[in-house]
């Protein structure tokens, strides 16, 4: 995969003489110190990142962290003070107005927090705005707008006006406007923040579903870590204009870079971040031909309550110690009679919260990759992973309050 958008050492200083502020930045002064001495605000501080084609890159931060400034620099709505932002071969940070317009028309479109739909245009005209600006003819515009609206499930509303639609529907129009321009990069500036929680969930799911077929490169801004974790292939956490940590959802939650990130991840439902495969153990299974004595001995040695028994490359069933040990004492020699052929299996890509029910049976769960048996998860390990987060967060919280 190649990088679609690359930002290198991007700075933004708001104020009358950004150079002096940049000098202070180089001397290692903090944002507050610089504001005190010069009255200038460092909006974005040395942001560097790459977004691969087809990836969802989420920038997460609280208000004032510079995330909205950052996303506006990517399409030149706010010119950066220094640094470069390459979109394919064009440096948005330094190109001419004409080139910048070309990038905006053909390569980058944007979805806004408060929808920013034009109230004097119909939904269809709103969706087609990017094409109209480009000079595309009316009939082609209408056809493409209809396609885009169909994609977001608003095909029937092309002739309505935005104020006749609900908030969620309006943002779908905003999304359709972004899709209709047929650009490869979609900037989304807190697109779901103004929506009700339930509708927000729907929109997130729908975005993921659309993304599966569209494969756009998406830069998504949010202040909601949950949203970031659900959507992001790669997540950047921003604080005071800097990237504190960049990584996958599991990296952010599993190994928070500092106390700030740890404090954020404290309330996160880890079962929705971690996949089953991250806690799976190597399967120490026996085959159906092995003797019951071997099986019991192995369980005792490994301190396990149960073992998977295979037959060829398939799983034959699960053998529990509770049943195997009495059977051995009663003179049973083969595994087959005491084998429990009912067993739980999940895909390695599943999230932990999806295996709660299977785990509640107390038996180990087989982890599959397609049809192949690749690992075992014991119920106790599921809860160990969840508890680990609580402990880490509590520690971080203590440190934060102590400091």
């Amino acid at each position: 995969m190649s990088a679609k958008l690359t930002a290198k050492n991007v700075y933004k200083v708001f104020g009358s003489s950004p150079e002096t502020a940049l000098d202070l930045v180089e001397q290692g002064k903090t944002k507050d110190e610089i504001f005190e001495s010069t009255g200038q605000t460092v909006g974005v501080h040395d942001a560097s990142f790459e977004v691969d084609e087809g990836q969802i890159f989420v920038v997460m931060g609280l208000s004032g962290s510079g995330k909205s400034t950052l996303v506006r620099m990517l399409n030149g709505l706010i010119p950066p003070t220094s640094g470069s932002i390459m979109v394919d071969d064009t440096d948005v940070a330094s190109c001419s107005g004409e080139d910048l317009r070309k990038v905006r028309r053909d390569k980058i479109s944007m979805v806004f927090q408060h929808f920013a739909l034009f109230p004097h245009r119909t939904v269809g005209e709103n969706a087609a705005y990017g094409l109209k600006v480009k000079g595309v003819g009316a009939s082609e515009r209408r056809e493409k707008a209809q396609n885009a609206l169909d994609q977001v499930g608003l095909g029937a509303y092309a002739d309505s006006y935005p104020d006749e639609l609900s908030g969620g529907m309006q943002q779908r129009v905003g999304l359709a406007r972004g899709l209709c321009a047929e650009s490869e990069i979609l900037l989304m500036d807190e697109p779901f923040s103004a929506l009700d929680p339930l509708i927000r969930r729907d929109m997130q799911d729908e975005l993921l579903q659309l993304q599966r077929s569209l494969k756009k490169t998406i830069i998504f801004i949010t202040h909601d870590l949950n949203e970031a974790l659900i959507l992001g292939d790669k997540i950047a956490i921003m604080k005071d204009g800097r990237f504190v940590q960049v990584g996958t959802a599991q990296e952010i939650v599993g190994e928070p870079a500092d106390d700030y990130v740890a404090a954020f991840t404290q309330d996160i439902d880890r079962s929705r971040v971690f996949k089953v495969k991250t806690i799976a153990n190597e399967p120490r299974s026996l085959t159906l031909q092995d003797s019951l004595a071997d099986a019991v001995e192995r369980m005792e040695k490994l301190e396990r309550d149960a073992l998977f028994i295979t037959e060829g490359d398939k799983i034959a069933g699960v053998l529990s110690y509770r049943e195997a040990a009495p059977a051995l004492r009663n003179g049973e020699t083969t595994i087959d009679p005491v084998l429990n052929r009912d067993y739980a299996a999940v895909q390695g890509e599943a999230y932990l919260h999806e295996i709660y029910e299977a785990a509640s049976a107390g038996m180990p769960i087989a982890v599959m990759d397609g049809d192949a048996f690749v690992g075992v998860v014991r119920p106790s390990e599921v809860f160990a992973q969840l508890v680990r987060g609580e402990e880490a967060a509590a520690e971080a919280g203590d440190r934060m309050t102590a400091a």
Partner: protein, 310 residues
């Protein structure tokens, strides 16, 4: 008690007198005379046309417009009041005043809207323009009547020019205000999809500012009408002249006839233009949209609303 004027009395009036009489008038009279030409052209055309159209035809057309724009109430009022004006014998004067006012409003819109757009896009230009507009709005018209006569002569054209000075500020100010109060994120969205500044202006800012601009047009129109009498002091005809003549002869009846004519014109024109400004609360109409709705059949509602109702 001592005051600074004990030492020096400033002949400010003499300076202004000198600047106008001995410098502006001899050096620039041809320039000002050439300004007359387009005004004269529009004014004579309108005046000739309005006085040529038979009273009945004009009434029917105006009543139709009033009906479309503001409803049945205004239509009935228009019929009754126009017939009344004809009965009391000031029809021709009314048409002349209407021509003057329309000409003044036309030139106010022609210059005021672009000035307002420029002021909205440049804070520096607004800083220069604002005191000029303040002066135009607050200086008593009588003060500039004399230099206008010197530069443009007497008659209806100089009257229109005086009206122009008096009535230009509201439409300029409200155009500026309207464009500046277009939601920032809409402008941003427009730019984000690759619009040129010109496209942002025509596709987003002007349509969304149209309501405010129309309110400015309404104000400009009202101020033009209120200048009708003052303009008559420098030779403009119409209802203003009727009022002035009545005043000179202490003829209360004649003055009232002229005054009532101005009031009736003001009410009809105000209601019609206000309905343009108020129409369609969220979706501001474009100018062509307004014109189309005036001439098309059916209620001037939004097409989508019609479709959904159907």
């Amino acid at each position: 008690m001592w005051s600074p004027s004990d030492i020096y009395e400033m002949p400010f009036g003499d300076w202004v007198d000198f600047a106008v009489k001995d410098w502006l008038v001899p050096n620039f009279r041809p320039v000002f005379q050439s300004i007359r030409i387009p005004v004269e052209w529009v004014l004579d055309g309108l005046d000739g046309f309005l006085n040529f159209v038979p009273m009945v035809v004009f009434t029917v057309v105006l009543v139709a417009i009033a009906w479309r724009a503001a409803g049945r109430g205004l239509a009935i009022f228009s019929i009754v009041s126009l017939i009344f004006l004809d009965l009391i014998g000031v029809w021709s004067e009314t048409m002349t005043t209407l021509a003057m006012v329309t000409t003044a409003v036309f030139f106010c819109a022609l210059f005021g809207v672009p000035l307002g757009v420029m002021a909205a896009r440049s804070d520096r230009f607004l800083k220069v323009l604002r005191p000029v507009l303040d002066v135009m709005q607050t200086i008593p018209p009588f003060v500039y009547l004399v230099p206008i006569v010197m530069l443009f002569g007497v008659g209806t054209v100089p009257g229109v020019i005086a009206t122009f000075i008096f009535a230009l500020p509201p439409i300029t100010r409200l155009t500026n205000l309207g464009i500046r109060s277009v939601r920032e994120d809409l402008v941003e969205a427009s730019y984000a999809f690759g619009s040129t500044p010109r496209q942002v202006l025509w596709e987003v800012q002007i349509p969304l500012a149209m309501r405010t601009i129309m309110a400015g047009l309404n104000q400009t129109l009202m101020m033009s009408l209120s200048m009708a009498v003052i303009a008559a002091l420098i030779g403009a005809g119409g209802l203003g002249l009727t009022v002035n003549t009545g005043l000179g002869r202490l003829d209360v009846g004649l003055a009232t006839e002229g005054g009532i004519g101005i009031v009736i014109l003001a009410i009809i024109l105000d209601r019609i233009t206000q309905s343009f400004a108020e129409r369609r609360s969220s979706t501001s109409p474009s100018l062509t949209g307004i014109l189309r709705s005036l001439f098309s059949s059916g209620k001037p509602a939004r097409p989508a609303a019609d479709k959904q109702a159907a």
